[in-house]
């Protein structure tokens, strides 16, 4: 088992695109007056073009971690650098795909995708229509441009969420359990599609999941979180060839080895979490 711990940029190597330094986030819980530490002392470097999956049990702070990178949550201490500059808020270099899709129900598919450009005041000129159309087609929703989200299945709604994120051509895609609310069959199909899409666009991806298979199938590296407080338990290089059509990869010894290892690590975490929750 090759277990890489935190990678420091070697002298001469290109700087990481995302750099998380000793990140701690804690909240004040109004009801009890106590301070709750969501994540503590997280260090992580993500290279340009890398697909990093973040795996952990529920409540381990992985969403908080992503929200800090997205600029939605301010760190209590430590910092996040994107392309060498500290993150002080959201920015056009990062886009988020949400677990519950977060589509605007009063907008059509086309207008929801357009939202990604509109909110950055990038609707000047004529080019934007083509870009929106391109993004819609890229996720396979050609012909559904004037449908409303309520008329689409969960999988299709998440395609809209994906198109909205990529239309603005961010460098970094932050995906918060994007397939968590999608049915099992669609999830398998969309996993492959996301891998293809990312391979084709060369984006840097941080993909949060609590599915072990998903973490292995999609990630170049897997960041395993532990809970109470949320922190990185280990970082693993998957070392699997791309493209990974599911059938071939799932029978590879390396896949099985990773799965067993992660299962063991998570099982320990899950039981620990259950004990805390029960106490």
């Amino acid at each position: 088992m090759t277990t890489t711990t935190i990678e420091r940029p070697e002298p001469g190597a290109s700087a990481p695109l995302i750099s998380v330094r000793n990140l701690t986030v804690s909240y004040n819980v109004a009801r009890t007056g106590k301070t709750l530490t969501a994540i503590e002392g997280v260090d992580l470097d993500v290279r340009e073009g890398e697909f990093v999956t973040v795996l952990g049990p529920s409540g381990c702070g992985k969403t908080t971690f992503m929200n800090v990178i997205a600029g939605l949550v301010k760190p209590t201490s430590g910092e996040v650098l994107v392309d060498g500059r500290p993150v002080t808020g959201p920015g056009p270099d990062r886009a988020v795909v949400f677990q519950d899709y977060a589509l605007l129900p009063w907008r059509t598919v086309f207008d929801n995708v357009k939202f990604g450009l509109e909110m950055q005041s990038r609707l000047k000129g004529d080019g934007w229509r083509d870009r929106v159309q391109e993004a819609v087609e890229l996720v396979g929703l050609k012909g559904f441009e004037s449908s409303y989200p309520r008329e689409l299945s969960g999988g299709m709604q998440q395609r809209v969420g994906l198109a909205r994120a990529i239309v603005a051509e961010p460098r970094i895609l932050l995906m918060d359990e994007p397939l968590g609310a999608v049915d099992a069959l669609t999830r398998e199909v969309m996993r492959d599609e996301i891998e293809k899409l990312i391979a084709a666009t060369g984006k840097t991806v941080l993909f949060i999941t609590h599915s072990i298979e998903e973490a292995i199938l999609l990630g170049d590296r897997i960041v395993v979180f532990k809970s109470h407080p949320g922190a990185i338990k280990e970082v693993i290089e998957t070392g699997l060839e791309r493209p990974r059509s599911e059938r071939s990869v799932q029978s590879e010894p390396r896949f099985l080895e990773l799965r067993d290892h992660l299962w063991e690590a998570l099982q320990h975490e899950a039981t620990a979490a259950a004990r805390v929750a029960g106490s």
């Binding site: 519950d100 129900p105 009063w106 603005a168 666009t201």
Partner: protein
Amino acid sequence: MTTISIEAVNAPPLRRHRRLPDKWAWLLMAVVAGILLVWEAAVSWLHLVPESFLPPPTAVAAAFVELLGRPDFWQAFVFSLQNLAIGLVLAVIVGVIVGLAVGWSPVLRFTVAPFLWLLYSTPKVALAPLFILVLGLGNESKIALVFLLAVFPIILNTMEGAVTVNASLVNAARVYNVNGVALGWKVIFPATLPYSLAGIQRGVALGFTGEVLGEFLGGAGGLGHLLEFAAYQFEMAEAIAMVFVMVIVANLLLALISALRKRLAPWYDDRQVMYGA
């Protein structure tokens, strides 16, 4: 952007627009016809109630038709609806803006909202004589009453809607650095619209009550004034016909808002609440 394309796998679930089945419509009509028949029988044929207290439906229908031909009726009609419209427009503007502001700002919610609930639960009808005393017998006191009765359900419903806007919709906008007025206009307002319209619907019904009440208590015109006049002269057929006019007007207004709600907020379906979707 590249040329890789992904096939769409799932066809969209078709949602059929459910209408009232014909047999229910027939049943409803049969019930109405039955009530009218019993009424007619009780008054005209069996003489259980004196006609001067409760005229039969045929007399009411005749009074209704007669009413529609009278210019003073239409004058009163315009007077009432004009006041109602002005009061409601003011109530909608103020109600939606105040509701959004109070719902969206935690500070306002904690400082202003309790007073809004207090005022909402105050029987404002009791203030009607005061309004007439201060604003006179003309339009102003009626408009004020319509506004006062209609504005609170609009404020409180809009507030409720603004509070319950899906947090991830707000986050979806925030990741593009959208805040303040732009966030309110692009996300909060449309997301709250179905709630506001539900509040407006209640506001219209209450506002109409306010208008008629104002005319009743001290009127120089309007449907309420006309009704009161007919009742004093013991023209019961005409008085009941007036009541029917009011019922029809109120229901037309409610149907209008319902249609508006379907048109402006087709994504909002109260049945979804039941399914938890």
